[in-house]
């Protein structure tokens, strides 16, 4: 495809298009007129259409303060951000169509920005962060600011560790007093308390009630700063001028935060001068300081948790997880990532080489108790998660006082006998917590989880009613493998038997158990339920293992189903 073909196509479809050189390159030009503003869009044809074709627009003086336009001072033109590239799929076999579709998107966006000032202002605020980045040094790392709620507060600024290119240590970090109530071994504290980082200086978190659009060039930063100071609330201003601005220094960081239509945005300005001075608050003061816009990211619960997929409302929940094997380990990870605030881990086992491939823990944890290793792992991964560890078996946890403040017990020990004994104990507690039992079956055939919610009919006994005679069975009626068959593998004689299953089976089982847990804790599930996943029967068939009626007829994998069984003598 050549430029002339594009021009011919555009002209054919009514555009005022022609070829013209720009910066020494032949471009496809398109003239448009919006509200008596004559604009020219131009496009440099790529060799291959792999993304939405970009049109630049000029003259720049008409386009100042329009949203979704980004200024390029080098050529005095604007680029237009019409969409996120990954959100569209292109008909790359018909490039002329793609170019025309892209042109229409560009014109539509520019037209709206010009004709609808209210929308344009909203959009400018929505994209504040992106616009602010335009005036920042893009090679500089983001400033990470730990703040509980974004209120006005001093911060201690830690410099990056020398020769560190990656991770928290490579960033400037601002630590406020309110952000330090994290567990000792949390991700953040690991990089604050246990790393040898130099204090670079002091700074301030400054909330803004009113936000003005970001400056379009670095020259506009000072004016923007003064306007921002003029518009902060009286109370904040008083604190700022009478307390924080009096601090004398040669370097200072102000980290702003403000609400935009797309949520709270954080950004900053770095101040530098040649001798210790109070912070500049007037145009005159600013003459002795150099200002640099910096990108900032907040590190607090309200921001990090929802942005990374966790639910802040679960942070008050308290879960007891019994069994930290391959399924329990995965469940713990899923619970942590959901945002749950406290997990009590219990398992008497030690992590060994035999566990390596299907467990979430790694080789460095060999020899540690599973709970301790898993607890440390969780603490590091999830900053607002508190863990505590017991090395007790399920039956040793039959203690009413211990379970008093637990919102949910999750059992993943794979021992039907102990699980049923514990269930009988739970029946004796006046206000018992909900209980999830989860287990998998060998040979990749499937896995199951039940949740017994005390206020709702359905209990573990329902999952053990023997469908052959409606007695209390010894194996679960959810199982896909018929009872009384040997599915274990024996490598080294007595005591060395193990159930053959993969890490994938453990993960799938953990996912369905965690799904029940999270739905229950977030109030979306209030009925005792069961859930199963069903795998292929190839491996079982090759070993001559008989499968249950349920396996052959089960077509509700991953669906949450009622747990109650009509023949249960407890839930009648």
């Amino acid at each position: 495809m050549i430029n002339q073909e594009v021009v011919n196509d555009l002209v054919f479809h009514g555009y005022n298009s022609y070829l013209e050189e720009f910066d020494g390159l032949e471009c496809v030009m398109v003239d448009i007129c919006v509200d008596e503003n004559n604009l020219t869009l131009f496009h440099l044809l790529p060799k291959e259409i792999t993304k939405l074709p970009v049109f630049y627009v000029m003259p720049a003086d008409i386009l100042v303060n329009l949203s979704h336009l980004f200024y390029s001072p080098k050529n005095d033109i604007y680029s237009v951000c019409v969409t996120t590239q990954d959100s569209i799929s292109l008909n790359f076999n018909c490039p002329l169509l793609v170019i025309r579709a892209s042109l229409e998107r560009h014109i539509s966006l520019i037209t709206r920005a010009i004709q609808d000032p209210v929308w344009n202002k909203q959009e400018l605020l929505r994209e504040f962060s992106a616009n602010w980045s335009q005036v920042c040094d893009l090679n500089a790392r983001e400033f990470i600011c730990a703040s509980e709620n974004g209120g006005i507060e001093a911060i201690e600024v830690l410099g990056p560790q020398s020769r560190t290119k990656y991770g928290f240590s490579s960033h400037f970090m601002g630590i406020s007093a309110s952000s330090q109530a994290l567990p000792d071994f949390s991700l953040l504290n690991r990089y604050i308390r246990y790393s040898k980082r130099a204090v670079a200086g002091r700074g301030l978190i400054l909330p803004m009630e009113t936000l003005h659009p970001a400056p379009k060039s670095t020259e506009g930063i000072e004016a923007w700063y003064l306007e921002a100071l003029a518009n902060i609330s009286t109370k904040t201003k008083e604190q700022f001028t009478k307390k924080y601005a009096l601090y004398r220094c040669t370097e200072y960081w102000i980290i702003f935060n403000a609400c935009t239509p797309s949520g709270k945005t954080w950004f900053g300005i770095y101040f530098k001068t040649n001798k210790k001075r109070c912070l500049p608050t007037t145009k005159e003061h600013l003459k002795k300081w150099k200002l640099k816009a910096i990108r900032a990211k907040v590190f607090n619960k309200e921001s990090v948790m929802p942005r990374s997929g966790a639910n802040v409302s679960l942070n008050e929940k308290n879960v007891l997880l019994v069994g930290c094997g391959s399924v329990g380990g995965e469940i713990a990870q899923k619970l942590g990532s959901s945002g749950i605030g406290r997990i009590v881990l219990s398992d008497p086992d030690i992590f060994s080489i035999d566990n390596l491939y299907r467990h979430v823990l790694n080789g460095s944890d060999i020899g540690f108790s599973k709970t301790m290793a898993l607890g440390n792992d969780l603490d590091l991964r999830f900053p607002w998660l508190l863990t505590s560890c017991f090395e007790s078996s399920l039956l040793e946890l039959r203690d009413k006082n211990l379970l008093k403040h637990i919102d949910l017990i999750i059992i993943s020990i794979g021992s039907p006998t102990h699980e049923r004994i514990f269930w009988e104990f739970i029946q004796t507690i006046p206000e018992p917590p909900a209980v999830i039992n989860s287990w998998l079956e060998g040979l990749e055939i499937g896995g199951h989880a039940t949740i017994d919610i005390p206020s709702s009919p359905g209990c573990l006994n329902c999952a053990y009613i023997d469908t052959k005679d409606y007695s209390r069975g010894l194996a679960s009626n959810l199982n896909f493998i018929e009872s009384n068959q040997d599915v274990t593998i024996n490598y080294a004689g007595c005591g060395e038997l193990f159930l053959p299953y993969s890490g994938l089976s453990a993960s799938k089982t953990a996912i369905i158990a965690a799904d029940l847990a999270i739905k229950y804790l977030s109030g979306k599930l209030n009925k005792s339920s069961k859930i199963s996943w069903k795998g292929d029967m190839d491996e079982a068939a090759s070993k001559g293992i008989q499968l249950t009626h349920r396996y052959y007829h089960f077509d509700k994998s991953l669906q949450i189903l009622p747990l109650r069984h009509e023949a249960c003598d407890v839930c009648y």
Partner: protein, 340 residues
């Protein structure tokens, strides 16, 4: 609780197995007589190479009889090489053993030796087989049968048992379907004992009901494997009435004809009276209708009343359910596939 739990209770009440407590004295008798027969055969030079239970005990479809009688159907197998030319000779040995042990009415019938033990309400049948390779030959002949009426007749004593226990026609895990079929056979037998006069009930042969039920069986289990015996029985009975077992003769009279599904493939009801066939089809139709009534009824107590009327007092009508007693597993341990 649901109607299925009542069916399970009913089944518990009527089922009779070789290991049942109520059968224990009969079982002692059986083992003792078998031992005596084996010894007597050994003394005569007949090598006993096998013995096994035949009939409903072997297929786990036996029911408690209403009058408390018990049956023993014990096959004795001798080596063909040692078998006397006259098959009745072996039956005479058995007759002698039974007579010595206080049995009354001990008789050599054409297919077996039969006797009653009044003190135990026990009826016993002893068929004798000789075996060559995989082939069985039944000792056929009465006490005084001449050469033309006695023979070692080719037979397949285990074929019928295997046919009843065969589950290859069921999809997937066939065990649950087979168990449901066997429960339904037991329900049918109890229905027969309750609904027919004693004389007619004797002619509605258990093996006939079993074969008809197997050929007509439509299992009903939900996806979780929970059985619905009421629906399965309704569907099966409906099939039994419409599969061509009953042929119209005249004057609203029917003849019943059911072929053995294994050798010798004879009509189980051969020589059966028209009255038997007529009562049989009429009562089956009635059973079909009543089961439909029970199916469409939503109140569990009312369902049980209908079923109690069909199956007798062993189908218990529960009181208004306020508590439910835990029923524990009869197994001490069960191997499971569970892990975590």
């Amino acid at each position: 609780m649901g109607i299925q739990a009542n069916f399970f209770k009913f089944h518990e009440n009527i089922k009779l197995g070789y290991e049942s407590e109520s059968y224990s004295s009969a079982k002692v008798k059986d083992l003792s007589i078998t031992k005596a027969v084996k010894e007597a055969f050994k003394a005569k030079g007949y090598s006993v190479i096998d013995n096994f239970i035949q009939g409903s005990f072997s297929t786990h479809t036996a029911v408690q009889s209403l009058d408390g009688d018990f049956d023993i159907d014990r096959a004795i197998v001798i080596d063909f090489e040692d078998a006397p030319e006259n098959p009745v000779d072996t039956k005479k040995v058995v007759l002698g053993v039974l007579e010595k042990r206080g049995f009354t009415n001990a008789t050599i019938k054409k297919p077996c030796v039969t006797a009653d033990y009044a003190a135990e309400d026990l009826h016993i049948d002893f068929p004798i087989y000789s075996k060559q390779g995989d082939s069985y030959f039944l000792a056929v002949g009465k006490l005084n049968s001449d050469e033309n009426n006695r023979e070692w007749s080719s037979s397949d004593p285990k074929g019928l048992k295997d046919w009843v226990n065969d589950k290859s026609m069921f999809y997937g895990s066939a065990g649950d379907e087979l168990q449901q079929f066997k429960r339904i056979v037991r329900y049918l037998k109890r229905w027969r004992d309750v609904k027919f006069s004693e004389a007619v009930a004797k002619k509605v042969y258990s093996i006939g009901l079993t074969v008809m039920a197997k050929e007509s069986f439509l299992p009903c289990l939900d996806d979780d494997g929970n059985p619905n015996d009421l629906k399965a029985m309704k569907d099966t009975v409906n099939q039994m009435t419409s599969r061509g077992y009953f042929s119209y003769e005249k004057d609203e009279k029917y003849r019943v004809r059911v072929l053995l599904p294994t050798s010798p493939w004879r009509d189980i009801f051969d020589g059966s009276a028209l009255d038997t066939g007529t009562q049989f089809i009429n009562k089956l139709n009635n059973l079909d209708n009543k089961l439909l009534d029970a199916l469409t009824e939503t109140d569990e107590i009312k369902q049980c009343k209908i079923l109690n009327n069909l199956f007798g007092e062993d189908f218990i009508i529960p009181e208004l359910i306020k508590t439910q007693k835990a029923k524990f597993s009869s197994a001490g341990t069960v191997g499971t596939s569970q892990g975590a």
